[in-house]
Symmetry: C2
Subunit: 333 residues, 2 copies
DNA sequence: ATTATCAAATGAACCGTTTCATTTTTTAAT
DNA sequence: ATTAAAAAATGAAACGGTTCATTTGATAAT
């Protein structure tokens, strides 16, 4: 492998000069610069970024750990962050923890031992997690989508409770009373807050009933299973509020299998507005998250931490969801 | 930051000994090993993997470049590869090229300048691509999903033509005659081969007509647009064969907007069998790819290259698709 | 007690860059 | 032509590990 020394020799200059050319230092004569560029071309030299990073103490890489790559919400989040980071010269290494705190730990340990300059993480478990590992992260670090209890770090998050509340109020305004909630895992903060929003709306209208609550996972399968549970334990309901769109998708499947349709009176509202929600039959009414922008914002906060010398207190950015009304909610007469 | 030197000092041994402990070398006494382990704990030391990699010439990282993270097919492919690689002690860095050859080049350049020991790539453009950059890749390297013309490297691929052929034959057997094809971009080999399968089936039954062919992109939006084109230029057709499931999803949307349904006679068949295809209305008949296994196989080939000394000729693994019959195809009377 | 043998520990050299104090060359001023 | 000042080039040290030839220490045999 040809190294900077080889280039120096070929060009007849010192390694320092080659390094300068590589780093766009202007204190090198045009003549020498050209000689170096020639040599680089001739020998097809490419700098070893490992060595460069070791020397510089900077890698120009950023890690992004997500809990579930098969939920379209997360790729979209990543895209928002990547687009900005890439344009600033940072590469993004994406890691999928599969909602497994152990894998998450592994990735954190690996990435933070000098592979990256900064880290964005959409955490898996936010409730029972040992936050020690997060506190040990010394480099710039932003949390997105879910807040980790007790951890005071830069954060980008949606107002989950409010979004859920508005979705449920929408259902109530349409005349629905018996509104079940199919939510995510108890260990996920998003599930907890969306549940809280549902509860608030239900209580304000004296509709709350513990039997209407179903805890599961943020997946299609889980949505399907929960909805079957609903039918088994409650019979027919007026509507379901699902804590994300994948759950809604599974639930719609179960609703159909039970020969119910929206016009029969089972309305459904989701959360996220992933790209395929508008293509479902019926198109899904859902709380839209500004997903791409959230990713971008997380990246912005991270960039500020990575490049600014000045320190500032952790910032908490709360964005708002927006109810997208489609036809999965019927007017109840 | 505490380094190996600090540990050596704290433990009262040499750096060589500390390094041995770190690398599970057995020629170190229990007493010394314990002293080192104590020191590591006490100072919360973590080896710098950058330095280690530079020294060892190995990073234990693998790169995986995909063209479209929002197509669920690719995350599934990655999952198959990651699961195996992770279990062998390799980390996977996922990079999304967004079907942009320039981004692809960027990632290749970045990753191969010493960040990784091996690379898996699902290429974007396979037809007009300058393959120079691929030929320059010196480290172990496996191509998956799409073959790059003129490049003789390890490859894992599905028999696209055959899969498409069988799908179209299925449609023909069900009595359909005017079968349009909505395909992907001309630059993608998968699109080309699936088109070839369609063409073969059509010609064998004297049904081929150039007007039935629509080239687009592998996305929902493109599927929607192409299907609108179909209606505009051909009026009603008997069926459509779409070259992936996302196109099918978009097409179904357009079909519905035009007040046609499957029972009216517009049948549809997709390709991939992404996880949501069975949840569509109607559930989508499609050619299932063994996606997870393809990812795993690609990883296996890569591992063999990375860890074996013995060289072998490039291997080409061709897997078969399987038609999954659901209700999006009606019997034509 | 001396020596041979073997296991364990050592530390300098190296991996491929950047950095910066020092030296050399060029330019401008007299 | 000489000198001062400025610009460019140099190369050794550093980044944080691993490796391996050499040294040290322990054990066994005589």
């Amino acid at each position: 492998m040809v190294t900077i020394k080889g280039i120096a020799k070929e060009a007849g200059v010192s390694v320092g000069t080659v390094s300068k050319v590589l780093n766009y230092d202007r204190t090198v004569t045009v003549k020498n610069r050209n000689k170096v560029i020639e040599a680089i071309k001739k020998l097809n030299y490419r700098p070893n970024r490992l060595a460069r990073s070791l020397s510089k103490g900077k890698t120009k890489n950023v890690g992004f750990i997500i809990p579930d790559i098969s939920n379209p919400f997360f790729p979209e989040l990543v895209r928002g962050a990547s687009d900005l980071l890439l344009s600033e010269g940072y590469y993004v290494f994406l890691c999928n923890s599969d909602n497994d705190p152990n894998k998450e730990d592994m990735y954190i340990n690996d990435l933070t031992s000098m592979w990256i300059d900064g880290l964005i993480i959409a955490p898996s478990d936010t409730e029972n997690r040992d936050i020690g590992i997060f506190k040990q992260i010394l480099l710039p670090f932003v949390v997105v989508d879910r807040e980790i209890k007790g951890l005071n770090k830069d954060l980008v998050i949606i107002n989950n409770k409010k979004g859920a509340y508005e979705a449920v109020v929408h259902l109530i305004n349409k005349g629905h009373k018996k509104i079940a909630i199919l939510t995510g895992p108890k260990y996920a903060q998003t599930a907890q807050y969306r549940y809280a929003g549902w509860k608030k709306a239900m209580e304000e209208n004296s509709l709350f009933d513990d039997k209407l609550v179903f805890w599961g996972k943020f997946s299609i399968d889980s949505g399907y299973n929960m909805m079957r549970e609903v039918f088994k334990s409650l019979g027919k309901v007026d509507a379901v509020f699902t804590c994300n769109d994948l759950i809604a998708l599974g639930a719609m499947q179960a609703i159909e299998e039970n020969k119910f349709t929206i016009s029969d009176g089972i309305s459904i509202v989701g959360f996220d507005d992933i790209y395929l929600s508008k293509f479902l039959k019926p198109p899904l009414t859902t709380v839209k998250q500004p997903t791409y922008e959230m990713g971008k914002t997380a990246a912005k906060l991270l960039l500020e931490r990575m490049e600014n010398i000045k320190e500032c207190l952790p910032r908490k950015i709360v964005v708002e969801g927006k109810l997208i009304v489609r036809s999965s909610v019927a007017q109840k007469t």
